[in-house]
Symmetry: none
Subunit: 218 residues, 2 copies
DNA sequence: ACATTTTCTTAGGTTTCCCTAACTTAGCCG
DNA sequence: CGGCTAAGTTAGGGAAACCTAAGAAAATGT
């Protein structure tokens, strides 16, 4: 098992290394607000545990194993954030600090339950993907419904918000996941959209709504 | 602020010191599964911080300050347990380990929200009192079910033991907190008791069980 | 290309919290 | 009361994760 400190390093490496996957000691040091010599020794320790590839004077890179571990922590973080917002009524600006602590809890039971209560979300409300139980991120390229044009035909695959109110609204309109939606027209002045799906031939959705619906090409 | 380890000592002192309030180094050592010399030095540290009264070769006792700190941790623990059971659908027997970790989170915001969502409860799922925001416990007068007489009608409000097996047993008999129980008869020779509650018209409980069930006048 | 600056590493120190081994105090018993 | 045992303490050490100070490597500018 990884220590609390190790988990923070793994997470930082994951978050910083988006493009090349490489992160310098200094970047890590700044992100974690930990002095470079401390980072240096921790990086060595992580290399020892085969969590990172590392050679002196070179940037650090997560191994597959490291990526998985990091993914699992980020999974816990994002599920927690979502739960706090959707189920407990916190504001988005309030949840980061709490999730930062909760992500270190060791209890598959707990996070599985959260996952279940949230309806197994694949992305958080910011659109960031939530890694699966194996720590892997599914790199599906979701597109907001609001980014579609008239004539487009898409499949509704995810929602970025799962508050009771919003889910109730979706239900009342018969908007279920997997549904094929055809965009009929888009109003230029307010971004509202008229679409057809299922039995509905012309339903109008506000931009507030279409912003929260994620789609794939149908 | 207290460290993670300090918090565990405070909690153990609080839980062990129910009668006289005094706890020996050895008791602490056994409860925490930490060797005596380690306990000894931590106790000194806590005395330094004025969390406990301590003199060499004497038992340890929480100060008022220590009691308050311990109460606040226990408050977090019990609120967490209750939330897990009431709002997330966990079973009684599942929540202890999770709460044990959550109780160390530093976020008044988080626990206030839980408190609010639960409707400011004074009792947790095991029936133990929940300390208030100042760490103080309201001592309610409970009576063992085994001390009741035939004809008495009482409300089940707490259990004194919360092992997995015991909680599972209670579940299997439909014995939930808040339940109204009527004592039908008591066997003189073994103290076993026949009671009725809910849909059950004549359930027999051994003294081992009724000793662990706490009640209020209904 | 070489001198300066920046980045990284090494060395050595601190705090927290745990350990084992060995010693001391307190309580008990004949 | 003296001696034994159990409980408590002291001494010394180790792992984790941080630090500062100082030296080494790499990058950078003219």
């Amino acid at each position: 098992m990884n220590t609390y400190a190790e988990e923070n390093y793994l997470k930082a490496l994951f978050n910083l290394g988006n493009e090349k996957g490489e992160v310098t000691v200094q970047e890590l040091s700044r992100r974690l607000d930990i002095k470079m010599p401390s980072v240096n020794s921790m990086v060595k320790k992580l290399a020892e545990k085969e969590m990172v590839h590392y050679e002196s004077y070179k940037p650090v890179k997560l191994t597959e194993k490291g990526k998985t571990e990091a993914g699992l922590i980020i999974r816990k973080h994002r599920l927690t954030e979502m739960y706090l917002v959707e189920k407990m009524g916190f504001g988005w600006e309030q949840v980061h600090g709490i999730a930062e602590q909760v992500e270190h809890l060791q209890s598959p039971l707990f996070f599985d339950k959260i996952d279940e209560l949230l309806g197994y979300p694949k992305i958080d409300p910011h659109g960031s993907p939530i890694p699966d139980k194996n720590g892997k991120i599914q790199w599906v390229h979701y597109q907001k419904l609001s980014d579609q044009k008239a004539g487009d035909k898409v499949k509704l695959t995810a929602v970025t918000h799962s508050s009771e109110d919003f889910l109730r609204f979706l239900n009342s309109r018969g908007l279920n996941l997997g549904l094929i939606i055809k965009v009929l027209s888009v109003e230029a002045f307010d971004g509202s959209m008229t679409v057809s799906y299922g039995k509905k031939t012309a339903e109008t959705l506000t931009k507030t709504v279409t912003d929260k619906l994620l789609t794939e090409k149908a």
